[in-house]
């Protein structure tokens, strides 16, 4: 059986696609056969973050409508033989995304022996987001330390607990909170919600904290998932997150302000 994981948040721009790309790549590099699906019909972007935008031939909607089979549409990643990307449709009508269609694609991938299927949810709570979470076993809720993101995450938690297949069956989805764009310096100065505050408000188990890092933009600029960048704090934090997801106990890092030298402390920088 494949384990289906939705990466969701409600709010846009918090790092769902960045997280999906890093997460799927991390799982694949650890030897798991992984598929990552872009559910954002009309606003395809996962292909760009994964660096395979020029290799898109068929998409998710083509498969659902029977114009291509799943094997034709899956793009094999350049970095790992275990990783496959299913891009969203860029032009088609959103109504083409149906629950039966999504279920069939997930079943095909399961039959194909995938260990993990990562569903990159669009922002909002409309059809794409609802279907991305519907069949999930696990949910990674991506949250920024910022009021609107925390509020939207709580709304999404409500939907995960009521509108999904697991909820309909009286079971529950495993929820994992991933805080992204975290800045320990701004937390220390009282300008940013602390990790502990977000945990207290949302009451969801924490699976990782990704520090604010310039390397995330550099990675997306070049179409390389940031987890590949082993030098960067964000890349390392994503790797910790993947290991925790796989059941390892890994202490959280990058939660404290980096110590500055005397020179920097006196003159800024």
């Amino acid at each position: 059986m494949s384990r289906i994981v939705v990466v969701t948040s409600g709010k846009g721009g918090v790092g769902k696609t960045t997280t999906s790309a890093a997460f799927a790549t991390g799982l694949a590099l650890k030897g798991y056969k992984t598929a990552v699906i872009d559910f954002d019909v009309g606003l395809r972007n996962l292909d760009l973050i994964m660096g395979c935008e020029r290799r898109v031939v068929y998409d998710f909607i083509n498969v659902i409508s029977g114009e291509a089979n799943i094997k034709q549409a899956l793009i094999k990643d350049k970095r790992s033989d275990n990783l496959f990307i299913l891009p969203a449709s860029q032009t088609r009508d959103k109504d083409a995304l149906t629950q039966e269609g999504v279920e069939q694609v997930l079943k095909d991938l399961t039959d194909d022996g995938f260990d993990f299927i990562i569903c990159d949810s669009p922002a909002g709570i409309e059809r794409g987001a609802a279907l991305a979470m519907h069949f999930a076993d696990d949910a990674v809720i991506v949250t920024n330390p910022e009021v609107s993101s925390v509020r939207d995450s709580d709304r999404i938690l409500g939907l995960l607990q009521s509108r999904t297949r697991k909820a309909e069956r009286g079971e529950s989805i495993r929820e994992h909170l991933l805080i992204t764009r975290y800045s320990p310096a701004r937390v220390a100065s009282g300008d940013m919600l602390a990790m502990e505050d977000i945990l207290e408000i949302l009451a969801v188990p924490l699976i990782g904290v990704i520090p604010e890092s310039g390397s995330v933009l550099q990675a997306s600029n070049s179409g390389v998932p940031v987890i590949i960048d082993k030098e960067s704090t964000a890349g390392q934090a994503y790797d910790d997150f993947v290991r925790r997801f796989l059941g390892e106990t890994v202490p959280h890092r990058f939660l404290e302000v980096e110590k500055k030298g005397l020179f920097k402390r006196l003159f800024g920088g």
């Binding site: 925390v150 709304r155 009521s162 009282g190 919600l193 505050d197 408000i201 003159f267």
Partner: protein
């Protein structure tokens, strides 16, 4: 932070403000979510009735379902403005 920053007046801790606002808001939204579907509508109807007599704000009406052992209780809490205009005669 440079050396001159130490002489500035300390900034307010806005993160604390954010946390308190979120705690209140999310508690409210969770109640709306967990309650029966008619709760928001009931709240509006109650507010309309009260407004026939006293001007109140939306935030002054709090409707929720409280859980007791084996039954639910409809909790209705209305905060009236400090002084309600009297129409009757004041005692001399």
């Amino acid at each position: 932070m440079g050396i001159f920053d130490y002489f500035r007046t300390p900034k307010p801790n806005t993160a604390q403000v954010a946390k308190e606002r979120l705690q209140i808001l999310i508690a409210h939204e969770r109640v709306d979510r967990s309650g029966p579907d008619f709760l928001p509508k009931l709240r509006n109807d109650i507010m309309e009735v009260i407004r026939k007599y006293v001007q109140i704000d939306e935030k002054d009406v709090n409707v929720q379902i409280g859980k007791m052992d084996d039954y639910d209780v409809l909790e209705l809490n209305v905060t009236l403005p400090e002084r309600i205009p009297h129409s009757g005669r004041t005692p001399s």
